[in-house]
């Protein structure tokens, strides 16, 4: 993959290795009220642009990045990511390329990288093979929004054995009973979905979100990320002191699409502290 070769001069000194996800977050939280997790769709608009974006994110102190492996049926995503998935696939992005890219990213940057995608990508490759390659690429875990706990038993247990975090999602519609079950299965980090719906539209971080985080906290010991519709400094501030990680997803892609690298730069500047 040519991206990798063009970039091979970069130092790998900053790479965070062999530190498990929960520890990494706890460690960082000692000096930061809240961490930032960013989101990048592999191959959209191109791997070169991805790399530029990640450079900016790193420079602005982003702590975690989800690399989305594009899928043809991204039914949990909103229009912006749907289109990104589609364009990326259209330009020929493969799973192999995504892993290669992840490998390069983890070797170049100090933030932790999570694979994000849909279960079919994992299923088609085979779960064990997927985990092997994820580990090999330096990934710290994975987020598969269409894989419920019940169907993830095998995958998650193998992953945990390898210290790969299978990110559990908690939602505003989850009952306490369900949260307990999700909490019991959580490992590395929990991702709290701030509201119903798909990625993309704006969420107001108000009492209900904070209460949800509190409810979730009762059921898990691992750090909590909150995402869906977080778009600026205000949101991050509101979450600060409640969540461990704020996930900035569509907002970053929107900034990039609107004003390219400089837009992204401005967004993450405003978020960094």
């Amino acid at each position: 993959m040519e991206v990798i070769h063009q970039r091979k001069v970069r130092p790998i000194s900053q790479r965070a290795m062999l530190v498990s996800l929960a520890d990494y977050i706890s460690e960082k939280r000692k000096t930061k009220d809240i961490l930032i997790m960013a989101h990048v769709v592999c191959g959209f608009p191109s791997f070169e642009d991805n790399m530029k974006a990640l450079d900016i994110m790193q420079s602005k102190g982003v702590d975690l990045v989800e690399l989305q492996f594009p899928f043809s049926e991204p039914s949990a995503d909103g229009p912006l990511f749907v289109q990104a998935n589609e364009e990326s696939l259209k330009s020929g992005t493969t799973v192999d390329q995504c892993f290669d890219f992840m490998k390069e990213v983890t070797s170049l940057f100090s933030f932790k990288v999570l694979m994000m995608g849909y279960y079919n990508t994992v299923f088609k490759m085979g779960e064990e093979e997927f985990l092997r390659r994820l580990a090999n690429a330096g990934g710290a875990g994975f987020i598969l929004p269409d894989l419920p706990l019940e169907e993830a038993v095998n995958l998650n247990s193998v992953a945990i054995a390898e210290d790969l975090a299978p990110i559990v999602l908690m939602t505003p519609t989850s009952s306490d009973q369900r949260l307990a079950k999700l909490g019991a299965a959580s490992y590395g980090m929990v991702y709290v979905i701030a509201r119903k719906g798909v990625t993309g539209s704006k969420t107001i971080i108000g009492d209900s979100v904070l209460k949800l985080v509190e409810r979730c906290r009762k059921h898990t010991d691992v750090p909590i990320a909150v995402g869906f519709g977080i778009s600026g400094r205000e949101d991050v501030d509101a979450l600060s002191g409640h969540a461990d990680v704020a996930v900035v997803g569509s907002a970053a892609l929107r900034a990039w699409k609107q004003s390219g690298a400089s837009g992204l730069h401005d967004l993450f500047s405003s978020l960094s502290r």
Binding site: E73, S75, V82, N120, T171, P172
Partner: protein
């Protein structure tokens, strides 16, 4: 054989296929649905209320028609047709939709959403929503909006909002994705009326149960008409709801061969078809909430599908089918677009029936096989819908110049009116 008698811990699975693969946010919603469906299924009151509406609103039972002319012309088996085209709104889709409408009432929801390909399911859902007093939004791929415009018109006039989906391949599967997106936002007051026996459990079971009315009726009617069971039953398979519907009348009878007829599109090797089991291009995967055979590449991304019949133009299949197929209970064949056109002409002229393009796929296979069968053998074809809705597609497929001139004149008239 009770395909819905799941082994413990395997609820919603048919062999390796089925399951629930949904975002966590829908966990409660799908559980509530499963629970409600379980109660309804056990409740004889529910079924009789359901049958009452099908009878008084949709015109069930639909008859079985013998095709003496076609049988004679082919010189083999006697051909019978189950007439679900005579349902209100013109296809078997109404069965499922009425059932889910009743369920939606029990769930206490006030809004329904649905995907549609051929437009028949959307048409049926919009009709049910008007009748039951639900708000209704229909998602339909932009490509299908164009090829099934008459149905869009009726849906709108029935009070439904029709949203053209511009993502992906802009057909049925993309409409399903859009429904999922709506559902994860509005599950509180919204029931997703999935149109075929696909998606997460309990949809395949639920849709199959509602459609089983076809097979129940057909078995009894054929016994009454001929004194015996059919030798073969043919049904077209898009998502696979009309097929499982009629097959359920005969699953317990090993002497009855069941044949699912998929969309062969441009044929084997063309990469432009929707044959999941009849051709060798599909493999097992997980998408749109369930595990089944999908037309996908090695990476797990879905392939472009094609069929002259919008309702068959889907890359997945009822998860019950790969299981029944592996068990040797159902055979799968495909019919190409060209074969479908030929069959359509033949059926219209010889029997005065106008099957939907989807349905015509079942006819193609039956017509191929009937001549090899004996004159005392019996074929049953499920006529899942009528072809009225396909007038643009059929007129174009048959190259009808007069139709085109008519449309040109209409267009000229509309343009003049603007001036």
């Amino acid at each position: 054989m009770d395909i819905f008698d799941f082994p413990s811990g395997r609820e919603g699975y048919y062999g390796d296929y089925g399951g629930v693969f949904l975002p966590e946010i829908l966990h409660g919603t799908i559980q509530e649905l499963q629970e409600c469906f379980r109660l309804c299924r056990k409740d004889e009151q529910f079924w009789s209320e359901y049958m009452e509406i099908l009878k008084n609103y949709s015109g069930r039972p639909t008859p079985i028609t013998h095709l003496p002319n076609l049988s004679k012309k082919l010189g083999g088996a006697q051909i019978y047709v189950k007439r679900d085209d005579l349902n209100h709104t013109g296809s078997h889709k109404i069965n499922n939709v009425i059932g889910q409408g009743l369920l939606c009432k029990r769930l206490g929801k006030r809004r329904v959403i649905a995907e549609t390909g051929a437009g028949q399911h959307g048409f049926a859902t919009a009709t049910m929503a008007a009748r039951f007093g639900f708000d209704c939004t229909i998602y339909m791929g932009e490509v299908d909006v164009a090829r099934q415009r008459p149905n869009v018109f009726w849906m709108q006039n029935l009070g439904a909002q029709v949203i053209a989906v511009t993502d992906g391949q802009k057909t049925l599967k993309d409409a399903i994705n859009e429904c999922m997106r709506d559902w994860v936002s509005n599950m509180g007051d919204t029931h997703y009326v999935l149109g075929t026996a696909c998606g997460p459990h309990p949809f395949p079971e639920m849709v199959s149960w509602f459609q089983s009315v076809i097979g129940r009726e057909a078995r009894d009617q054929l016994l009454e008409l001929t004194g015996r069971l059919p030798d073969r039953v043919y049904a077209c398979v898009g998502g696979g709801s009309n097929a499982i519907g009629i097959f359920q009348g005969f699953l317990d009878h090993d002497s009855v061969e069941l044949i699912g007829c998929e969309a062969g599109g441009l044929g084997v090797g063309s990469n432009l078809h929707a044959a999941r089991l009849a051709y060798k291009d599909a493999s097992v995967g997980v998408a749109q909430g369930f595990k089944t055979y999908f037309l996908q590449n090695e990476q797990g991304n879905m392939l472009k599908t094609h069929s002259v019949a919008a309702g068959l133009d889907y890359m997945g299949i009822n998860p019950i089918f790969p299981h029944l197929w592996e068990e040797g209970k159902v055979r799968f064949e495909a019919a190409t677009d060209e074969e479908v056109k030929e069959a359509l002409r033949l059926i219209m002229k010889s029997e005065g029936l106008i099957p939907a393009l989807e349905t015509a796929h079942a006819f193609v296979t039956a017509i191929k096989e009937a001549p090899q069968m004996g004159p005392t053998e019996i074929i049953l074809i499920n006529q899942s819908g009528r072809g009225d809705k396909d007038i643009f597609t059929i007129a174009e497929a048959l190259g009808d110049q007069e139709w085109k001139s008519f449309i040109n004149e209409k267009s000229d008239q509309y343009r003049r009116e603007l001036c």
